[in-house]
């Protein structure tokens, strides 16, 4: 097992890779942008920019319906754009695990507003995990995919700028192919 200093965003990407994630989409938005950029480094994963967050969530949900583990990443206000599919996805459920990253920006380091996206979890009745460092960012991404499949629901992973852009030491595991029938 090796160790590396990773940002929260790099760790989320790594977690998605280690969990056998297959499809990821996003529209860039600080502080979430580097998640997809780093997922793009794993050739095993289809990773793409979407024109906006609504489309990103829809294609990721489509990939989940297709049976693979999928991820959509966005900043807090991006989830407003993707809120339409989000609420109904909560009814529809998933096939492959689906994790939606909401990167909030308290103090508005690079945003037009401050917004607490934990309310989305409550309003849409979707479970929410919140990591407190890069190790947890990686572990919770894996966990989110497992919970998603177990309870047949998308799972929100909420970070804040300090988690996305802070770096700390992470234990790396090998890529573990998804065990699903």
């Amino acid at each position: 097992m090796s160790r590396a200093v990773l940002s929260g965003n790099e760790a989320i990407a790594r977690g998605f890779y280690e969990a056998g994630g297959k499809f990821a989409a996003a529209y860039p938005g600080t502080p979430s942008t580097e998640i997809l950029e780093n997922i793009g480094k794993y050739q095993e994963i289809k990773a793409q920019w979407s024109p906006n967050e609504k489309v990103a969530l829809e294609v990721a949900a489509g990939a989940s319906l297709g049976g693979v583990r999928a991820l959509a990443a966005m900043k807090h206000v991006g989830l407003n754009v993707a809120a339409d599919p989000l609420f109904s996805l909560s009814y529809m459920g998933v096939n492959g695990g689906l994790v939606i990253i909401s990167a909030d920006d308290p103090a508005m380091h690079s945003s037009q507003n401050e917004q607490d996206n934990r309310w989305y979890a409550k309003a849409a009745k979707i479970p929410m995990l919140e990591p407190s460092d890069s190790q947890e960012a990686k572990d919770f991404t894996v966990l989110a995919l497992e919970l998603s499949e177990k309870f047949d629901t998308p799972v929100l992973l909420r970070t804040t700028t300090r988690i996305n852009h802070s770096k700390s030491i992470v234990e790396l595991k090998r890529f573990s192919p998804m065990l699903r029938s």
């Binding site: 860039p28 600080t30 942008t33 990773a47 920019w49 024109p51 906006n52 308290p106 037009q112 607490d116």
Partner: protein
């Protein structure tokens, strides 16, 4: 206790923990999300009566909120005023010319989200609104339709290429469909610059920077039905000012596309650094108005150009009335 699952809350764990302590505080950033739910569980808890509901929390804020004070070591501050260092458009940025022109023309500018939002800051100060992704388009239409004579031909929307793909297209369809006279400038620098230069549908490359299909903004705008589409070279101030002025007068919608790549992305250097002939500089301050961080002052208050920063975009030379700013000859 630190929670990793915040919805649904692990109520049993919280109850167990609460039973073990005399007083329970919830320390959470932003809204009292957990606090209200824990209160609703019938557990006495404090939090937002002491902690702020806006901004980030840090050690100092939490310590002062809970303990009432912090040690003297933490209270030092520098007496002198410290000039802020806000970000600004990069030296040579292709957006600068357009904002300079908009300010000159005293237009009301509905803005949008991207590097170009920096055009709202002094000295350019040429953006009046910024709401959310794509709002520049709807705002300009709504204002143009309701503001009457006074604002006729005086409102223009400004949006970047990536933001246009994100949420501007539908607004532009509305302009055409509902027969608006709104005017829109698309700052097309062929990249999502603000967030660190990501590709987008108009850049011709995918996330891994491999070639892919490219959406042509001009064709897209034409396909909507908009007939007046003009291109702007934002490095030519006179042309930029004249074009915008002319388009503002036309009947019906007009889309102006400022077509110039992001200089950072392209690692573009136009020429060797420009320089100033100190004898000619009258300290009039005109060149300060373009807001380029390569423009500095010497001890006499005369302009000098920082050769490490200037990439020779020529904008400052065009505003100097005394020919003090010189384009280097040898290139």
């Amino acid at each position: 206790m630190k929670l990793g699952l915040t919805f649904p809350l692990p109520k049993e764990l919280i109850r167990e923990f609460a039973a073990k302590v005399d007083k329970l505080f919830v320390i959470e950033e932003l809204d009292p999300f957990m606090e209200e739910q824990i209160l609703a569980m019938g557990i006495a808890v404090e939090g937002k009566n002491k902690l702020p509901v806006i901004g980030e929390l840090d050690l100092n804020i939490v310590r002062e909120a809970l303990l009432g004070d912090s040690p003297d070591d933490m209270k030092f501050s520098v007496k002198e005023p410290i000039p802020a260092r806000p970000p600004s458009l990069c030296p040579g940025c292709s957006h600068r010319g357009v904002f300079y022109a908009l300010k000159k023309l005293k237009l009301t500018v509905t803005g949008d989200i991207g590097c170009y939002t920096l055009g709202a800051l002094p000295p350019l100060e040429a953006m009046d609104t910024c709401l959310c992704m794509g709002a520049s388009v709807g705002f300009s239409e709504g204002m143009e339709k309701t503001e009457g004579e006074e604002l006729q031909g005086k409102v223009v929307g400004v949006i970047g290429d990536s933001t246009f793909f994100h949420s501007g297209i539908t607004g532009l369809i509305d302009i055409f469909y509902n027969q608006s006279n709104a005017k829109l400038i698309i700052l097309d620098n062929q990249i999502t610059a603000m967030t660190g230069h990501q590709e987008h549908p108009g850049s011709g490359l995918n996330l891994r920077r491999e070639p892919t299909n490219r959406v042509d903004i001009e064709k897209l705008v034409r396909a909507i039905g908009i007939e007046r589409i003009v291109k702007i070279n934002p490095y030519d101030l006179k042309e930029t000012i004249d074009t915008i002025k002319e388009e503002m007068q036309v009947d019906g919608p007009s889309v102006m596309i400022a077509d110039a790549p992001c200089v950072i992305r392209e690692r573009k250097v136009f020429t060797k650094p420009y320089y100033v002939i100190a004898d000619k500089c009258t300290k009039c301050g005109m060149c300060d108005k373009v807001g380029c961080s390569a423009i500095e002052k010497d001890e006499d208050g005369k302009t000098k150009i920082n050769p490490l920063l200037c990439i020779g975009c020529d904008i400052c030379r065009q505003v100097c009335r005394f020919d003090a700013i010189i384009r280097p000859a040898d290139n």
